[in-house]
Subunit: 313 residues, 2 copies
């Protein structure tokens, strides 16, 4: 890694944040741009919440609750407890410190600022030097069609604990949502593009569903590397495996590779998935094998280094 | 106190809450209506805050921070700390539990409910059986004209610590604000009306400034009793004495009595103000003397009993 490359990462929540954390410890901040999923964005108590943007932001600010992977460390939940007393649904766990972010975001949005501008402001206030860009400033809601009803993704994930049979994923707003300023540019200008180990359907898939993003990835000069979120047919966190199964996809690193095959150069798969390497390469994607589990901070840095080494050779 | 009287109290914040607390322990809840000042209402972070209504509500719910007299006991201030990080003014001390009340109120107001309806809902959720009515559902803002500028009352009181010279008090909105539903009725139906020991200018004065309230008090059949907030020429809490001085009023129980002389029957003054009794009676008001300081819960109950005894004989 003699040369310092311009890096753009596509990210969802917790899994992505771990790799981004690893990257941030070895890449100068001005070289790192993160495009973040906003399909999970939701409104509670009149406040606009951007769960994935917050996870990435809090992680880079050193504020994240490492135990949970989201929220702010040492936060309290007193406001939520009281809201429960007032009769509100409180299944979405908003901490008291965390609430300040949503209050601030909502105030700025109501004043006419775009989500990308709000995100820039929050980054400045939290002294984050990397560039975090929400995938779009426009309405975009990931919805899950189950056997009984259609749920906002957060309802499916948090309220119902992702137990429902998934019949379809709806990218509500995808037809009109434009990429936020900087999204296409950071893809086109990057020398390395990293697809983080996030849910390929509702974290990365949503970003890819934004008009022009997939085309930009295909045309970008950068080396495009993805890290598989599926290890040995299962996920570290989240419902990606269940969703892929219900939608008739192969629940494996290979299944993920197929979703990225039109633009991906390199796919990083776990050692346990070494037998799949050959099939991945048949898709025209170079498969590389390493330990992709990120249990410790050292794991994150090691995997980030591995990804950069692979991408720059 | 053989008979159970219908009681209506006019109230501001902390001083009023103490007497209301005393009253609530000896009066059946369905017999007690409290009309509360909303001139201090303000907006922070997009949230509608009703400081005096909350003090009364939290007190009757047994939630109030007894030490401070306002806010919720054992509350934390984590959201506020984080809002400070985002660059907000945080001189108005909003606790995390307290925030839930403002979030709930704001949600309901935005849905089209009136402040009096919101207050009723909050009382129901907090299992308060007394009737709390904000003085008006309309815009009403108490403003303080100082030597340099015109401040919202909360700015004058909390942000500036009430150090400014007060040139005038402006009841912004008084010309159009209508009494909330139940305000006039509860005055007309009461058998005893209690003017709590609150600031006569910015807590009681605001209620009296609402169209029809003063007239209703004059015409009401009830025995009207006030407790002086001024003891020995000074106040227990708040800037009433300073404000009266700057506005050229006599800073004493007598000065307060003069403000209520057109409707008041009985004025309860402290033992230290016994020499003023004669002057008060010259206003056509019966002066009664007792220890009016409420340091303990027993003091509150004793004073409440005294007031009811005096009013019902």
């Amino acid at each position: 890694m003699g040369k310092l490359y311009m890096i753009t990462a596509l990210a969802g929540g917790v899994g992505a944040a771990k790799l981004i954390d690893g990257l941030s410890s070895i890449v100068p901040p001005e070289k790192l741009t993160i495009i973040v999923n906003t399909g999970d964005d939701c409104e509670f108590y009149g406040l606009h919440i951007s769960p994935d943007v917050d996870i990435i932001t809090y992680t880079l600010a050193g504020l994240v609750d490492e135990e949970k992977g989201w929220g702010i460390k040492n936060d309290t939940f007193n406001c939520l407890d009281m809201l429960r007393l007032y009769g509100y649904d409180t299944w979405f766990k908003l901490g008291d410190k965390d609430l300040a972010t949503h209050i601030h975001r909502t105030m700025m949005l109501k004043s006419g600022y775009k989500l990308s501008e709000v995100t820039r402001d929050i980054c400045a206030k939290l002294r984050i030097k990397q560039k975090i860009i929400p995938m779009t400033d426009d309405y975009f809601a990931t919805k899950i069609k189950t056997d009984r009803d259609t749920l906002h993704f957060q309802e499916y994930l948090v309220k119902r604990g992702s137990v429902d049979v998934v019949r379809d994923i709806i990218y509500d707003g995808a037809e009109v949502a434009k990429p936020a300023p900087g999204v296409i540019e950071s893809i086109m200008d990057a020398e390395i593009i990293i697809i983080c180990p996030s849910n390929p359907l509702v974290s990365i898939g949503t970003i890819l569903a934004i008009k022009g993003v997939r085309q930009a990835l295909k045309g970008a000069k950068a080396k495009k590397v993805a890290v598989s979120p599926i290890i040995g047919g299962t996920v570290v966190k989240g419902p990606a495996d269940k969703m892929m199964k219900y939608l008739g996809m192969e629940v494996s690193a290979l299944g993920v590779a197929k979703l990225y095959s039109d633009f991906l150069d390199i796919f990083v798969i776990d050692e346990v998935d070494a037998p799949l390497a050959h099939e991945v390469e048949k898709l025209g994607i170079k498969a590389v094998i390493t330990n992709t589990l990120m249990r410790t901070r050292e794991d994150r840095i090691r995997l980030a280094k591995f990804v950069l080494d692979i991408a720059s050779t």
